[in-house]
């Protein structure tokens, strides 16, 4: 099957209506604190996710990266601070409402429904389709070109897929309909090098179509190849924010922030 055209990007709209100035940042966190039970995890996180770019969230284990993503999605409530998406305050919104703003989330554990088939997993994410026949066939063709395993195992239980195939399904499901913001927690985790290249290609095509992407990633080489901007976290705070290019060009800064050269 020849690759279909990349999907059209989601239109960027200002909350004030057409013609109003559009903010450079699609997502902003200001002074966000998050408590999980008695534990104070995020200590005043300030994060800007520029519109139309791939933003990376880097940091050591336990730095608060996953907590930041879960707080954005409303899965954990910010105890202080504000979160805004496309100029709209989303701090107090429930998770389904946040997802309804055209934000797709792929958690670290992929969130695949093992007892459902690959097709059913995809249909669930296609909120505009009541049945499989109503899914956008052109968009599906494009997704199949990126992730052939999704098409190959279309009617198979998702739980029977390998780890890499599940990861591809998780990302494919997130993009089954056009999204404004794609949030992915460790997309390259456990993937073979060949699959990582597929994933990089997918994110490049998504970015080209206008989707804003926020990734948490431990694989520095993956991060370098896809990232435009980077924020580094440590102990629940963002300790550095800037361009990936600038960070890549500064070995001293790399060692100071990440403990290694990238």
């Amino acid at each position: 099957m020849s690759a279909a055209r990349p999907p059209e990007g989601a239109r960027h709209r200002s909350p004030q209506g057409e013609g109003s100035p559009v903010s450079a940042n699609l997502l902003e966190l200001r002074g966000v604190h998050t408590h999980i039970g008695a534990y104070h995890i995020l200590h005043g996180v300030d994060l800007q996710v520029p519109r139309g770019q791939v933003s990376l969230l880097l940091g050591r284990n336990g730095a608060g990266k996953t907590t930041t993503l879960r707080t954005i999605m409303g899965l954990w409530r910010a105890s202080q601070g504000t979160l805004s998406f496309d100029g709209r305050d989303i701090t107090a919104l429930a998770t389904p409402q946040i997802a309804g703003l055209n934000i797709a989330y792929v958690p670290e554990n992929m969130g695949i429904f093992s007892d459902l088939t690959v097709q059913e997993n995809m249909l669930l994410a296609a909120r505009g389709a009541a049945r499989a026949s109503q899914m956008d066939t052109q968009r599906l063709a494009w997704i199949f070109s990126l992730f052939p395993a999704v098409e190959k195992f279309w009617n198979h239980p998702a739980g029977k897929l390998s780890g890499g195939q599940k990861q591809m399904l998780a990302v494919a499901r997130a993009i089954v309909e056009p999204r404004e913001l794609l949030i992915v927690d460790e997309p390259s985790k456990g993937l073979a090098p060949a699959i990582i290249n597929n994933m990089i290609d997918a994110f490049s095509q998504l970015k080209a179509s206008g989707v804003t992407i926020l990734l948490v990633e431990q694989n520095i080489h993956f991060a370098k190849r896809v990232g435009d901007s980077v924020a580094v976290m440590d102990n629940g705070r963002v300790v550095h924010a800037g361009s990936m290019q600038a960070l890549s060009a500064d070995p001293q800064l790399q060692h100071a922030l990440l403990g290694l050269a990238i």
Binding site: A99, G100, G111, E120, L123, R127, R131
Partner: protein, 327 residues
């Protein structure tokens, strides 16, 4: 990887049980009579248990008050059928159904409405707290039983079978009660409706996904709390329907009838695997058959036999015959 990877082994348990018991009973006609009785009883229990397994699987709610909807459904049926004597007294099965079907529908509607209130005021405040759920739902059932006594009185009320549903059909030497065949048809129809809804509709897809990972369903943009309420109401309505069927099966209703069936229902959903409708069907059929077979062969061990059955199944499959992922 096989395209069709369905686990067929648990399905074989029901015919296996029937075949193992056959030489012990000896008489083919007696075996057939007991088997149909067991299947009928099992399908009635399935109707009651199917909603509870979805509530437990989807909402992670331990509802020990499920029995109140069974009793409520049965008592509502006594009121509806009591006023339709001309229809229930007729020897025509179709005229009987004109009375029984509305009685079932009214029972389901009342049980569903009470379920809506039960979820809102009793269950919702204790989501995620199992011990409190057990205590508060048992309290809800006690209150429900007492309210039933206030409305209908404390004594048992007869719920006779309509005229056209009495008697038996002879198959060889075996006398098969008509009502038991009707119960089998109704039970299979409920299973078919549930299977179609869960397997062929998007709402069924949401329920199956929610049983596995509620958080991910919300992250996909669905308000799973609304689904909770819907499932609880449907589960309550099904319990009400089961109550009507159970009341007609026993031909008498008492306020405590829900509590009396509770143990069997929990055995069924544990055997089946929490959240599994097919598992609940297998479990219910096995429980129904076991109760009837041991009631004939060794009446003193009838209740223990189902607990022994549950223990044996759990030794083979500790999470039930069709465990749902992530539980």
């Amino acid at each position: 990887m096989n395209k069709s990877d369905f686990d067929w082994k648990p399905m074989a348990l029901v015919p296996l049980l029937a075949l193992i018991v056959f030489p012990l009973i000896g008489s083919p006609s007696t075996w057939l009579t007991l088997t149909v009785a067991g299947l009928a009883m099992g399908l009635i229990i399935f109707v009651i248990a199917s909603g509870l397994t979805l509530v437990f699987g989807l909402m992670d709610v331990l509802n020990f008050g499920h029995g109140v909807f069974i009793a409520l459904g049965a008592f509502v049926a006594t009121s509806v059928l009591g006023g339709m004597g001309d229809w229930t007294g007729s020897a025509s099965l179709w005229r009987n159904l004109v009375a029984v079907v509305p009685a079932m529908l009214v029972a389901m509607a009342v049980a569903g409405a009470v379920g809506l209130a039960f979820e809102r005021f009793i269950v919702r405040p204790v989501y995620g707290q199992h011990l409190k759920q057990i205590l508060i739902t048992m309290g809800g059932m006690i209150i429900g039983e007492e309210l039933i006594k206030v409305v209908w009185g404390p004594q048992q009320i007869p719920l006779p079978l309509p005229e056209g549903m009495r008697g038996s059909i002879l198959i060889g030497d075996a006398a098969i009660e008509k009502y038991r065949l009707i119960a089998v048809v109704v039970g299979l129809a409920v299973f078919a409706a549930l299977a179609w809804t869960l397997g062929r509709t998007k709402i069924g897809l949401l329920i199956r996904a929610g049983v596995q990972d509620r958080e991910m369903v919300e992250s996909l943009g669905y308000r799973i709390r609304r689904l909770f309420v819907g499932v609880f109401v449907v589960g309550s309505a099904l319990a009400g329907l089961g109550g009507v069927m159970w009341g007609l099966y026993q031909q008498t209703v008492v306020p405590q009838m829900g509590a009396q069936v509770n143990i069997l229902i929990f055995i069924v959903i544990i055997i089946g695997g929490l959240g599994s409708t097919t598992g609940a069907l297998i479990g219910a059929l096995m429980v129904g058959l076991m109760a009837n077979y041991t009631g004939f062969l060794a009446p003193k061990v009838a209740l223990f036999s189902n607990i022994a059955l549950m223990a044996a199944v759990l030794l083979w499959r500790p999470q039930g015959v069709y465990p749902v992922a992530n539980r």
